[in-house]
Amino acid sequence: MIIGLEHYLVLGALLFCIGFFIALSKKNAIGVLIGVELMLNAVNLTLVAFSRFGSAEVALSTQVFVVFIIAVAAAEVAVGLALALVVYRNRQTISVDRTTLLKG
């Protein structure tokens, strides 16, 4: 059996779903961020798989796109963790089901 595009796509889909479940179900805000990171990694893996196996025109632009995604993910993690610190300083918790200040 030759390992082709479908293998990487299925792997990316499974990784995305695991990250999605972690992001939806974790109590801790940092746990939610970990899930978002896994989802971004799954998308990057899918893009790189298309870069390897897709048509030659998209081979370079998908990799440039992955570089941009990694840069934006780094910015997102920095701001997200700073927000977690601020929420912790004000509420003494970073549990997402106890930060209910906006709940009616």
Partner: protein, 203 residues
């Protein structure tokens, strides 16, 4: 490409990636979860290498394995009174599982059922040079916007996480009280102990 070593690399790296991600879901300790995240990211970097995307693999190791995991560990250490536990939320766990199952079925269906056309045999070579050239020629405007975004995000993160001076004094005193009651951290580590802890020592 269909040789034994490639198969071994793909399946072991896939097991590493998915196993690490599953252990994040299972593990109860948040610090362990970050360590499993590092394992999973390393597996993804190896998968980039099997896709002959060497530049992306190096960037993945540098940024995700190196920087982001350390940043997450810092954030966990800086929130000492928050629970370390990484447990599932009982209320959202059931609906989340249903939604995730639907997403998984649909994405797997698309990935397997679609005819993706002819597979290109030759991989892109000399990628670092090509990516760098296209970043400063064709993608110069997104590149500059990304630079501004990173600068603004990091300055914003520092501005958010920075404590005011009177804020810091209150925080330090409350932290000291917490550490005295907790007893899990060596009091020598605290720089400025403002609360006399003579009453606490005996209890």
């Amino acid at each position: 490409m269909s040789d034994f070593g490639f198969h071994l690399a793909f399946w072991s790296l896939a097991a590493m990636t998915l196993g690490g991600a599953s252990m994040i879901m299972i593990s109860r300790n948040l610090i362990h979860a970050v360590i499993w995240l590092v394992l999973s990211m390393l597996g993804v970097a190896g998968l980039y290498l099997t896709l002959s995307a060497d530049f992306i693999a190096v960037v993945q190791v540098l940024i995700y394995v190196g920087a982001i995991s350390v940043l997450m560990l810092f954030a966990i250490m800086l929130t000492p009174r928050a629970e370390r536990d990484n447990s599932q939320n009982i209320k959202t766990g059931g609906p989340a599982a249903i939604v995730v199952m639907l997403v998984m079925i649909s994405t797997l269906w698309v990935a397997i059922d679609t005819d993706w056309g002819a597979v290109r045999e030759a991989a892109l070579t000399d990628q670092a040079r090509l990516i760098g050239e296209s970043l400063i020629k064709h993608y110069i405007l997104p590149f500059e916007i990304g630079a501004v975004l990173l600068t603004a995000a990091l300055v914003g993160a520092i501005a958010l996480a920075r404590q005011d001076d009177e804020d810091a004094a209150v925080h330090a005193s409350s932290l000291q009280a917490e550490l005295d009651g907790d007893g899990s951290v060596d009091p020598v580590d605290v720089i400025d102990p403002p609360i006399p802890s003579d009453g606490e020592a005996g209890s």
